[in-house]
Symmetry: C2
Subunit: 200 residues, 2 copies
Amino acid sequence: MTPKQAARRMRIEAAAYEVLSEAGYNSASLLSIAKRANASNETLYNWYGNKQGLFRTLVESNAREATELLRRAIEEDAEPVEALEALGPVLLALVTGERAIMLNRAAAGDVSDTGTLGQSIAAAGRDTIAPLVRNLLRRAQESNQIECNDIGQAADTYFALLIGDLQIRRAIGVLPPLTQAEIADRAERAFKQFVELFSP
Amino acid sequence: MTPKQAARRMRIEAAAYEVLSEAGYNSASLLSIAKRANASNETLYNWYGNKQGLFRTLVESNAREATELLRRAIEEDAEPVEALEALGPVLLALVTGERAIMLNRAAAGDVSDTGTLGQSIAAAGRDTIAPLVRNLLRRAQESNQIECNDIGQAADTYFALLIGDLQIRRAIGVLPPLTQAEIADRAERAFKQFVELFSP
DNA sequence: GACAAATCGTACAGATGTGTACACTTATGA
DNA sequence: TCATAAGTGTACACATCTGTACGATTTGTC
């Protein structure tokens, strides 16, 4: 893979996001993406196989960046409860952000087709983050900062309080992107409510 | 509108659900729906205008039934807290049910197109239910059964605890339909946590 | 600089969707 | 019973997407 090819790939994936944003998943044909990227559609077919393949790589690279960001937000703090508090705004901004929402819409459109996009999103998203949060909660439990029988259920409750139905409302287009202030508010409230529910 | 026409409409809308279920929103063409219903596509265009129009009526009739169901669940109990407890499983079953999820997927696919489906879902769904819940909470507050500064925020918290990210996970196809037991469990847990957070 | 590989631009066949048109059939109502 | 309205089945023009093909051009490598 030459540097030029890497740049080409970035240009193509940027074009894919642009077209996805303007036209939506159904109307985002490989042809239109190729044109936007000044690339040949034959190249796209060679590289990604088909539309699902292209968007699957989008999901994966997006998730890789996101996971890295979250991992940093968590591991900067040695103190688990503080780490949880720091995680909130970052995670909330990510999952309600424009890119994540567009990819979720794409996955919803792909369910009756291949269903692979949703699987990729879940695998790289929740299935990667939830274990991190469970670890955090386990450490908090061991140092008697929180109290719960079922770590998994506690993690679920945290996600529910933090994210709630924001994602689906963003996905169906009835909720504009959240402002920084809204994100901070909601994350703080979710954290406080979580602590209230699970404090010893 | 003759009875025969009403039956025809029901047949067409049932066909629309069938095709939607099998092929997804993008692939559900008016032509395929017309064929499935043994109807002429010209009739569909006359009656509904276009694809969005057809699915918008689906959303609206589905929401009308759902709201009626919820209103009954609430108003059977004079006691607001009991009504809230009774509402949980009904609401959860509705919003994670196959029809609601298919319509949400359709709305996600329609965002970059007309965006009207999402608006209809929100108008007939959350925007209709939330006021009912807020009324319930206000009554509970007046009889000192719960305590909160902001009714709207409390209602949000209730929805977050009850529904969480189940809808989006159902929509992208990574979560199978919930069983009766799962619905009952989750509703009970959400109710208990809500009470714990907002009891005086 | 020359050769080989990768990529572009364009074209193509086949399939499908949209929205409209029209002759023929069925239902509605006086 | 008969005239009018409504609906069916089929066809059409137009547009678009998919996946493939191929000569021309650019890029990487020796």
